[in-house]
Symmetry: C2
Subunit: 364 residues, 2 copies
DNA sequence: ATAACCTTGGAAAGGGCTTTCCCGAGAATA
DNA sequence: TATTCTCGGGAAAGCCCTTTCCAAGGTTAT
């Protein structure tokens, strides 16, 4: 608060006047001014349902313009029992992974003239559940949960229950992530993507790997690690458990995890797989700090293909997820009214090989 | 739509049953079940205003739990005339500049238990005005407009008028950008920042500059260009108008603008200033494609200090804006109720010199 | 000419909640 | 004991809309 330095420029203190709560213009005011009944005014304003004669309609429109009337959407929502709100819960909007998804969601929602309410649930695991409850209280039309589930079964059950209550009361729900909540799900194929990446890297000749595996509890991180291991297995390439380092799913987490690998002191792995691009960037920074060249001394790969990072140097090998599309699909799932049962839309990733994993020239 | 591939898994077609609109639990239901009046139930649910005897309160709580009652916040908003919504309009949430600001806004709003509704206004200039109108209709408590104003005076006036109507009807408004709307404003010091950057670059020995100036119509882009020019003037360094290339405020815009400079064919500038980091990244990509090294052959600087780009290579010289803080400050402005008149909070940028503008070693 | 419509407008009953009154009963004061 | 307070409860009047139902007038069909 202390950092708000108001350079007040208005007339000093209009405070004393006890700020009369501004009398808002209601539809009744419009009706009165136009000399028609409330009913008629309502009909004119929500043109469609039933026609009103031209002369009266004109009078009402005039009154609306004169008074600067705007319908109270909350009241309308109460009266009709229909809301135009859709809630989106994601871990951290400033993370490009989430903000890209959010962009897709917002775009589709806006095209349906729906309001998107966003919340950050990074704070604590309960936050998602609380947000769904809040959306239920708001009688939101739909809610979308974005991001990996964790392995906390209790929290998951509570969330499931809350979502069930939400859908039972007439709302639609979807999530982007693991299909564990009993609602429509957009399923990024983490495992298959990481598997394909591992095979591609092995095909390039890489043999000694390390994985910056993200938090143990996040299923997405696990799936990617698991898929990577499976892909390597197909090439009979071993992945020593000691080479799997956990850490936060962030730039700093990647930096930190990479540090641990360097500190371990053993022979340097030939290729490091970070389970997200953001972590990979941290790893790159750490390697640079150590004076190691990528891919000269060590190769690095990520996951997601964050748009902002497509131009980093060296260009980062990764698995591309159509992030914006994930959001669009989720929005469409939640807005389409044909709903026989929970649907699952798997979305594959695409391996993108770039310079950061170029095979080392055979030692001279 | 075609790309949604529902792998339906529920029982086929529960459709025929004409989906009876789920009867929602109301406070009256709770009151009935608890055997108390509606009034009492309301008082228990909104604990605070007036006390209710323990035994009755318990009965009500039981009923709430049994029925899974959740207050209808819309109805409450209608009854009290107070909403808990705050609207945020920004150009594009997937742009890290905006998403960082949004993170700050959301954090503060959430700590006040307010709902944040987000909209993307990239589509057309009218979008901001429409969104403010929508927020007025929603009786939102506040609205925050994020991003540069344009030089379209007509649109600006319309927006001013809409904002005036919004505040007149009791809402609070703020913007992050130029102080042109007659509302509380958080003012990033674009000009001063660019000025300081120019001086710092000149001090490093750079002399021949080009500017990737962003769209002509965006005031933020103009201010940065203008400030840069002023800073150079202090060092008596000329900036040829031909070296100012306009383009979209995006990665591709930067790439494109850089292309134009290269295509012009004249002597290469020694240093390129892109008015945003995102454009700078595009420029770096273009230079790399041309086989030019940064800073070896040419220096590059940006503006904003986007977090995701702090680790790109070469490390990018830029002007750091505390993006998340911008959002926090705006949120606080709009939530503090002491409001004598429109306030302006200038926020300075900080020049961050990194490797991308290292002075070239004197030609051997 | 009369019956059968359709059109147009309004009164009134919701929708789900808060809040202002008002009332009775017990506690505190005189 | 009489009087004033408090306290806990309810009836009912809002808040701002939408929507059903009804009535009056004008058309068309028989």
């Amino acid at each position: 608060m202390a950092d708000v330095r108001p350079e007040s420029r208005g007339a000093a203190g209009r405070r004393g006047t006890a700020a009369a709560p501004p009398r808002r213009v209601t539809l009744q005011d419009v009706a009165d001014r136009a000399g028609v009944s409330l009913t008629t005014a309502s009909r004119v304003v929500n043109d469609g349902s039933r026609r009103v004669g031209k002369p009266l309609a004109d009078r009402v429109h005039r009154a609306v313009a004169d008074l600067g009337y705007t319908a109270n959407l909350q009241a309308r929502a109460v009266a009709t029992g229909q809301s135009t709100m859709i809630g989106v819960a994601l871990r951290d909007i400033s993370d490009p992974y989430f903000s890209s998804i959010a962009a897709g969601l917002i775009e589709v929602a806006a095209s349906s003239r729906l309001l998107v309410c966003m919340s950050s649930t990074a704070a604590h695991e309960e936050a998602e559940r609380e947000y769904v409850a809040l959306m239920r209280a708001q009688r939101a039309r739909a809610v979308v949960l974005v991001g990996s589930r964790s392995d906390n079964a209790a929290a998951r059950d509570a969330l499931r229950a809350e979502l069930a209550a939400f859908t039972r009361s007439g709302g639609r729900a979807a999530c982007i992530g693991q299909d564990l909540l009993g609602v429509d799900t957009v399923l990024p194929e983490n495992k298959a993507g990481a598997d394909a990446l591992a095979r591609a890297l092995a095909a390039l000749g890489h043999r000694r790997f390390a994985v910056l595996a993200g938090p143990r509890s996040l299923l997405t991180a696990r799936e990617r690690t698991e898929g990577f291991r499976a892909g390597l297995r197909a090439w009979s390439v071993p992945l020593d458990a000691a080479q799997i380092v956990h850490g936060d799913l962030s730039r700093d987490g990647g930096y930190q995890a990479m540090s641990e690998i360097l500190a371990a002191g053993g022979p340097l792995p030939g290729c490091v797989f970070a389970v997200s691009d953001i972590m990979a960037v941290g790893a790159l920074a750490r390697l640079r700090a150590a004076g190691l060249r990528v891919p000269g001394d060590i190769a690095v790969a990520g996951f997601d293909d964050i748009p902002t990072l497509r131009d980093v140097y060296p260009p980062l090998t990764t698995v591309r997820l159509p992030l914006k599309r994930l959001g669009e699909i989720a929005a469409r799932l939640v807005l389409s009214d044909d709903a026989p049962g929970p649907r699952v839309v798997p979305v594959p990733g695409e391996v993108v090989l770039r310079d950061s994993t170029l095979p080392r020239p055979p030692a001279a």
